[in-house]
Symmetry: C2
Subunit: 326 residues, 2 copies
Amino acid sequence: MIKIVIDTKGGDKGATEMIKGAKAALMKYDQLSVLLVGDESVISSECKKLEMPMDRVEILDAPLEITNYDSAADAIFNKTESSMLKGLKTLSEREDLFGLVTTGNTGVLLTGAMRYLSGKDRVRPALAAVLPSENGGFTCLVDTGATIDCNSQMLHHFARLGSDFMKQSYAIDSPKIGLLSNGSESSKGNKLVKETYPVLESDESLNFVGNIEGNRALSGDCDVLVCDGFAGNQVMKVTEGTATRIITDIMKYAHRTGSDEIKKLGLHLMEIYDIGSLGGGYILGITKPVIKARGNAGEKAVVSIAGMFVNMASNKAMFDKSKNKI
Amino acid sequence: MIKIVIDTKGGDKGATEMIKGAKAALMKYDQLSVLLVGDESVISSECKKLEMPMDRVEILDAPLEITNYDSAADAIFNKTESSMLKGLKTLSEREDLFGLVTTGNTGVLLTGAMRYLSGKDRVRPALAAVLPSENGGFTCLVDTGATIDCNSQMLHHFARLGSDFMKQSYAIDSPKIGLLSNGSESSKGNKLVKETYPVLESDESLNFVGNIEGNRALSGDCDVLVCDGFAGNQVMKVTEGTATRIITDIMKYAHRTGSDEIKKLGLHLMEIYDIGSLGGGYILGITKPVIKARGNAGEKAVVSIAGMFVNMASNKAMFDKSKNKI
C-alpha cells in the first residue's frame, strides 16, 4: 500500500474537483490510499456524496487556505495551520505517508518543503518537469521556475538533483546531463552558462554531455537538462505555446474542411503535447516526493499524479513510453 | 530601382547558390538590381552559365572569405578585403546601394556593421527576427543572439530600435513593446527584467505594454518583444524545435496511414512554421538595411530576403498577411 497526502485547498477548481480526482485515483490504483487535507466538513460531505471507499481514506482538518497572495515568508510563520503546511508537516512526521500533491502557491510550497522536508544540507529545493522527448524517452528539465536568478553552484546542484531523480525514478544508470545554451560548442553561453560548464565537466559523478541548444531541448540528447529558472520557464512555455498554436491551427483546418481524419490527428497531438495533463512538477532536493500540480489542475491531473507516485514507489518510469509516440 | 549588395561567400552552400538566388530574385522583382561581391572569376562564369540579365548586375572582386573561425577583432583589421567587409564598406560609401545580405559569420558582421554603418551614437547593433504571430500580424523579437549578456540600458535600446523598425518597415503607428518574462505581472522577472521594466515604463516615446510570458511570445500581444540575446535565442530555437517535431510527427502519421489529406496539411504547416525560409535576421541600429541569412541559406532564402529589401524600400510590410494563416 502507498498512502499519499492530497491538499484539497488552494486550487482554482475547488476541493470538490480534488476529491473527485482522489476517488478516480483510488478506483484506478488498488494499492493506493489517501489522506485528504482541508475543510473536514466539506471533505466528509463530498466523500459521502461520491461514495468514497472510506477504508482507504483518512481526513485531516485544516480549513485555512494558502492563496496566491500569500508571501512565503509570512505564510511559513503565520499559516502553519493551513492545509498545505499542515499537510507537509504531517508528511514529514508520519512514516506511513509516501508523498504529497498540491495545486497551491509555489513559493510557499518550496519554503514549506524546505522547512519540513529538508535533508542534511538544507539546500533550496528545485522544481523539475519531466517532458516527453523525441526518441520516446523523457527529459527532466531543472529548474523550471523555482529559482529565477541562479549562480553556477545552484546549476551544479540542479544537475546532481536531476541525475539522482532520473536514476531513482526512471532507472537510468548514468543519466546524461546537458546544459541549456545558445550553441552546442563549449565556448557558447551567457556568463552563467560559461561559469557552469567547467563545474559540471569536472564533477566525475555526473555524465555531462555538454551544451544543448533550445531546438534540441527535448530531442533526447540528454536525460537531464539544466538551466536557471528563467530559461526553464521559457523552454516550458514556448514549447507549450508553439504546440497549442499548431494544434489550434489543425483543429480549425479540420473544422473548415470537415475532415474527421484531421480532427482525429489533432486530438491525438493534443494528448501528447498537453504539458498540463502530464501531471505536475517535482520538487527535488527534499526527503519525500512532493508534486506541484497546476493551479487549474482537475480530476484528470490528480489521477495522473497519483500514477506518478505509484510508479515512483515501485521505482519504475511513470509513463508508458509507447504512448509518447505518434 | 533598388540595388542590393549580395555577399556570395561565407555560406554553407557556396557562391553558386547565392548567384542562383540573385537570378531568381531579379526575375521576380523588376525594380531590383544587384552588386555581387566575391571571387570575380567565379561570379562571371556563373553569371554566363545562368544567363543573368547583366544590365542589372554589377560585380565587385573580393576573393577573401570570412569564415566561422574568424574572430571579429582580428577580421575587422586583417580581413578588410574580404567579401563581407568590402561589401559593407562599399554599401556605406555609395548612395545608389540600398542594403546588403550575407550568410557569413554573425560576430564579424555585427562588428563590421558597427564600423562602417554606425549612426551618430555608435551603439552596438542588435539582431532582430520578424516572426509571424497568431493573429496574422508579425512580432519583432530583439535581440535574437547578437548580445548574449545584457544590461537594462541595452534592453531599453533594443526596445527603441525595434519600435523604430516596426514603424518604418511595417507602418505601425505606435508599436506595442513587450518585455519577455516568466510571468505577466510587473513583479515577475529575473534581475535584468526587473531592472528593465521601470526603464521601459518611464520612456514616453515607447508604447510599453508590460511583461509577456513565453507561451504568449508570438500571440500578437506585442509588436516588439524585448529580451537579452540568450533568451531570444531560446525563444527562436524552442519554437523551431517544437514546430519541427510536431510537423515530423504529422508527416510520419501521413506516411503510415497513406493519407494525402494529412500530408497536404503537413506540407502547409511546414511552409508557415519554417522559420528558416522566412528570410533572415535584421541588423538594427545602423544607417542602412543589412540582413543576416542563415549559414545554410539557399536560393529560396535569397529571393525571400530580396523581397524584404524591396518591401522595405517601398515602406510596407514585407509579408502577405493572409499567407500567415491556416
